[in-house]
Amino acid sequence: MLRVEGVVKSFDDFLAVNEAHLLVQKGEIVAVIGPNGAGKTTLFNLITGQLRRDRGRILFQGEDISELPPYEVCRRGLGRSFQIVNVFHRLTVFDNVQVAVLSHQKKSNTLFHPAGSLAVVETRSLLESVGLADKGRRIVGSLSHGDQKILEIAVALGNNPEMLILDEPTAGMSPEETAATIDLIRHLAKTRGLTILFCEHDMEIVFSISHKIMVMHQGRTLLQGTPEEVRNDPQVQSAYLGGTDA
């Protein structure tokens, strides 16, 4: 479904991503792991168009998307959430998700029809599926950090994507919130048939829910394989697993 081939991105002289390779097949949950600064977030930003790659190809469902702006990538069915909470902080929870749903339904430019009566059912059912239904009227700024991260996912789902990229979905969460979020991700993948690409520091989570794992080190893809293959690879052990990370 998603194929990244030899992608390179440099900022001035610093090579943030250097020869990254990735293959995600339909229905898979794929994790990208690597130490801080390995280029995971940069890779995600390259895939969804926030950044433009210097070299290489990014194919989504057979189409080269490496030159497309973010909104075009999104319209092709590739949604994402962000590592740092990145939503519309002056709007309510409901409005946040509704903006995405309206965009998906191509109603963002509707001028003289009250927004309060459009896309309401879809938005509400989405909020229910992530467990935020009772907080719909709250202003986002008043939510707990964990709920804001969940809202991140809900906003990304508003476009009904076929594939979802989650950048550290559980960062900053308590152990209970983390467990609930992982359950949610698994549930969403199953019920919506979502393909998921995510990155995460918690190795326990990564190895428990991923079908495939891609290991990045200093911007380079070390290998991509099943959790078993990754666990047993000596190169990975020296570079990452046996190293500094807890």
């Binding site: 973010p70 990145n86 995405a100 963002s108 990304a156």
Partner: protein, 329 residues
């Protein structure tokens, strides 16, 4: 602060459903007023309406759109000059001029905006000031066409708008229509998407919104309404001059929005009323009336950072939200 407390408590007693009736009542009152008040006050009220619409159209882009619309007066001036030139230099029927004013303002807005949306934040604003000043310079210098720094005076109005009271009714009705339109645009999907872009353009792009195009459309709408304000100014004053599109006026309108409160719908009206009243009544005694405005502004930034209207809205929300949360928790 005593007065403010009394006012807030008074407002709190008005239920949500009664607000509509209150506004309709106010409109009727304003509509019936002219025969009973001195001509001078009719004129000042008219000026407040015109300035309010200008401030509202700016706030649509700044407060709700989050764009650095630094030179909004240009579009007001373009609207005013367009109708003035059509009424004085052509024999076209007057309504053509009245329609052409806002349309011209919107087109110039789209043209300048097309360049500006390519930049962000301050650079957006700086570019707009430069391009806007260019238009001002043309109007200021082109004596044969625009009358240069003299402007155009004694613009002939159609019979139905010739008296001050008729002008007043026309302005009031168009103001109300414009406000209803702006309000429904803000409550529409277009409006909520615009506010989402204000909060977070990057995220908006990530949910499939073409941010630049959406902003450009908003600029077209905002400048169109600035053009309506420009036309109404001509209806009231029957003259135009280059100061209408000078950058100091842009700053003044910006201050009005700040006074009233960025994130409220009605705030700019209040800001415009305060500014026009100060200029008229303090300006009679001293040409340094802006000094008073400055002091008010400083006090405001310290004590009511959300603006006068923002302060009251905040008071309301406090009550509404706490009830709400108790209900859902």
């Amino acid at each position: 602060m005593g007065i403010i407390t009394v006012l807030t408590n008074g407002f709190k007693k008005i239920g949500h459903s009664n607000w509509g009736w209150l506004l309709i009542g106010m409109f009727i009152l304003l509509f019936l007023m002219p025969p009973f008040i001195p001509r001078f006050f009719v004129y000042i009220l008219g000026l407040i309406y015109v300035t309010s619409l200008l401030a509202m159209s700016l706030n649509f882009l700044v407060g709700f759109g989050g764009m650095f619309q630094f030179h909004h007066a240009v579009f007001y001036g373009v609207g005013a000059y367009t109708v003035a030139l059509i009424l004085t230099k052509t024999s076209l029927p007057p309504w053509v001029g009245f329609v052409a004013g806002p349309v011209a303002a919107g087109l110039v807005g789209l043209l300048i905006g097309w360049f500006c949306v390519r930049l962000t934040q301050l650079y957006f604003g700086m570019l707009q000031i430069s391009l806007g000043s260019l238009i001002w310079a043309i109007v200021y210098r082109w004596y044969k066409f625009t009358g240069g720094d003299d402007g155009i005076h004694g613009i002939p109005m159609p019979q139905v708008l010739s008296s001050l009271n008729q002008a007043y009714y026309f302005i009031l009705i168009l103001l109300v229509v414009s406000l209803v339109l702006l309000y429904s645009i803000l409550k529409s999907p277009f409006g909520s998407t615009l506010q989402a872009i204000r909060d977070n353009p990057q995220r908006c792009a990530a949910v499939g919104v073409n941010v630049r195009r959406h902003q450009l459309r908003a600029i077209g709408i905002g400048t169109f309404f600035a053009g309506i304000a420009g036309v109404l100014f001509v209806v009231l004053e029957k003259s135009v001059f280059p100061d209408l599109l000078f950058w100091t006026l842009s700053l003044e309108v910006f201050i009005m929005c700040l006074l009233g409160g960025w994130f409220t719908f009605g705030g700019p009206i209040l800001g415009a009323a305060i500014t026009v009243a100060l200029r008229t009544f303090v300006g009679k005694y001293t040409e340094y009336w802006t000094l008073i405005l400055g002091v008010i502004l400083i006090l405001l930034i310290f004590f009511l950072p959300e603006g006068v209207m923002g302060y009251f809205v905040e008071k309301f929300k406090f009550r509404g939200n706490s009830g709400n949360e108790r209900g859902t928790a």
